[in-house]
């Protein structure tokens, strides 16, 4: 009995050792068993739901079931038991979904070197840990184009959470996109100070509508700005998911996550034993499964859609929208002529392009 068990194990061990010899990087010691830790409710209408909508596509591509646990808050005391309950049952690929998992995942990755860890919007990386986030400015640039084309007043609004790099780049991209159709378009930004405060988001969107703003973009987690846009009979563009389900008349397009396009190849690499986690994390654009534009509402004219799709193709072919010469609102040169922004410059972006009207 004992021997029969040991022999196949030894065979597997020999095979995996062989694989290590051929491929550099991380290798699992058993066939992959993958599990998700969701930060919020799987039907939260935004960030987490985007993962839960990618999950069946991943399941189909890898031909396996991916279990998940919901509402794992950003505290080590909740993350560790949730991850370990999977690891103890033989799961060897754990996918997290929150910035606040970063440190705990680093600790877990060191404690379980044979388990692969992936974490969305995290900041930590290692031999068996890779964080990933999307180049959201690409899809927000395309949404900004549509907003600029559809606005009659040339005044666009943007409801955002905090003035941090990944939010500032979406605001700038929105303005740059709008300028493609209306060089005089402005983007007025209201920061709510929270990812999830529908009371403040509603007040912000209403204040914008009262000021004659007629397209409202967003980088917050609830669909409130879209709902207000529909109530006020103006337009909006969504983020995280296709928000047309909340405001079918108002929402022109959305900047929506396409996580399956990033996770399927990554998980296949992990399974094949040739996964090499990047020391700076994965940072996919439209091409590799970051955010893409969910397009378009019926009210968007065909020629606008055609121009937006042409820009999308250019971005997929490598166009960087943050290319010099580029100045900020104070007139200071931020990118010299012909210079493309690097990833470090994106993450620490604390300036706005001319046309953005924002608080400090």
């Amino acid at each position: 009995m004992q021997l029969k068990k040991i022999i196949p194990l030894a065979a597997v061990a020999a095979m995996t050792c062989g694989a290590v010899a051929y491929a550099a990087g991380f290798t699992l010691s058993a066939p992959p068993k993958i599990a998700f830790l969701y930060f919020a409710d799987k039907g939260d209408g935004g960030w987490t739901q985007a993962f839960d909508e990618a999950r069946p596509k991943i399941e189909k591509a890898l031909n396996m079931k991916l279990p998940f646990v919901e509402n794992v808050p950003e505290v080590a005391g909740k993350i560790t038991p949730a991850a370990e309950s999977f690891i103890n049952r033989g799961y060897n690929v754990i996918i997290g979904t929150a910035f606040g998992y970063s440190d705990t995942f680093k600790t877990l990755a060191e404690k379980y070197p044979k388990v692969a860890f992936l974490n969305a919007s995290g900041t930590t990386n290692g031999a068996n840990l890779e964080s990933f986030y999307g180049r959201t400015y690409e899809s927000q640039y395309l949404c900004g184009m549509i907003a600029g084309a559809m606005s009659k007043t040339g005044k666009l609004g943007f409801v955002a959470a905090h003035p941090i790099g990944p939010v500032n780049w979406t605001i700038n991209a929105y303005e740059l996109g709008a300028q493609q159709f209306n060089p005089k378009a402005t983007v007025t930004v209201i920061f709510t100070g929270s990812w999830n405060d529908p009371v403040k988001e509603r007040a912000a969107a209403q204040a914008m509508a009262d000021q004659g703003i007629d397209v409202i973009g967003q980088h917050v987690d609830t669909p409130t700005p879209q709902i207000v846009a529909q109530e006020r009979k103006i337009f909006g563009t969504g983020h995280h998911r296709d928000l047309r389900e909340f405001a079918p008349k108002a929402t022109l397009c959305s900047s929506a996550w396409t996580w399956d396009k990033h996770l399927i190849p990554t998980l296949k690499k992990i399974a094949a034993g040739n996964w090499e986690p990047s020391p700076y994390g994965a940072f996919p654009g439209i091409k590799d499964g970051g955010t893409d534009i969910a397009c378009c509402g019926a009210s968007v004219p065909k020629d606008v859609v055609a121009k937006v799709m042409a820009e999308r193709d250019a971005i997929i072919k490598g166009k960087q929208i943050f290319t010099g010469p580029m100045k900020d609102t104070t007139g200071k040169e931020r990118l010299a002529a012909g210079v493309k922004i690097d990833d470090g410059g994106l993450w620490k972006m604390d300036w706005y392009v001319p046309g953005v009207i924002a608080q400090k």
Partner: protein
Amino acid sequence: MNDFFINWLASAPVTAVPYALAALGLILSERSGVLNLTAEGLMLVGALAGAGAVLSLHVHPALALIIAMAAASLVSLLFAGLVVVLRVNQVIAGLAVVFFCQGLTGLIGTVAGWQNKQIDSLPSLNIWPLSEIPVIGRIFFMQDPIVYLTIAIFFGVNYVLFRTMLGLRIRSVGENPAAADAAGVSVSLHRIIAIVAGSCLIGLAGGYISVVSVKLWVTGMTGGRGWIAVALVVFARWAPWPALWGALLFGCIEAVIPRIAAAGIAVPQYLMLMTPYLATIAVMVWVGYRQSAVTREPGALGQPHVREERR
């Protein structure tokens, strides 16, 4: 510029209503001598119950608000049991109820899947032809029904508290429970009545946020508004009408923040976001300064009543 002020003042009542109702509910409870810090938690209960009633039971929004009131008063029985029957420290019990409600509402709401689901709500009234009056019409006669109901509730509570026997008894157990007890007024009963009735109003404040004003539910959506209501009670010195003016003041402050940004005036955003709380501190300082002359604080506030106990 005129439009700016009209739009601003027209949006202030919607932000003020939750503060006003929650502060009034707290006043009712504190007038009976029970220091009540539960507003933040009970508003969350009201917000969840109201949203849940519309999303799961598909009831009319007005009925959902009644369910929100009932849910909050049901949970307040826990608080009443702790502080009136068991005579637990009222500060500790109040804080415990808030944390309990934060966890409970988050759990129920996410398990039931009510997060970020759109709620069909009450439309704003349009009191024609008054709404056609320039300036005044937009500000006073185009609000949602609960705004007008809130004013009626203030008249009602003020009447009960100061013009009826029940109100006199509630105030007497808050001023001097031993004397009230000697006069044959049940201290426990009147305190429980005041807590439960006040919690109805706090639940309505929470239900108003989710069902009428935002038309959406997310975890922890009251965002600290219950604590501002607690401060408003001190600001109003335990009197209903000043609480309404205080709530309107806070409503105006909160409503102007996004409007300044939308008008393109560059002000540091974190300074703007802290103004309601700065105003709270300023008001407390002012009240503390004024209180040296005369205090309106209920005499037995925060003291559990034990019959025949020596002090």
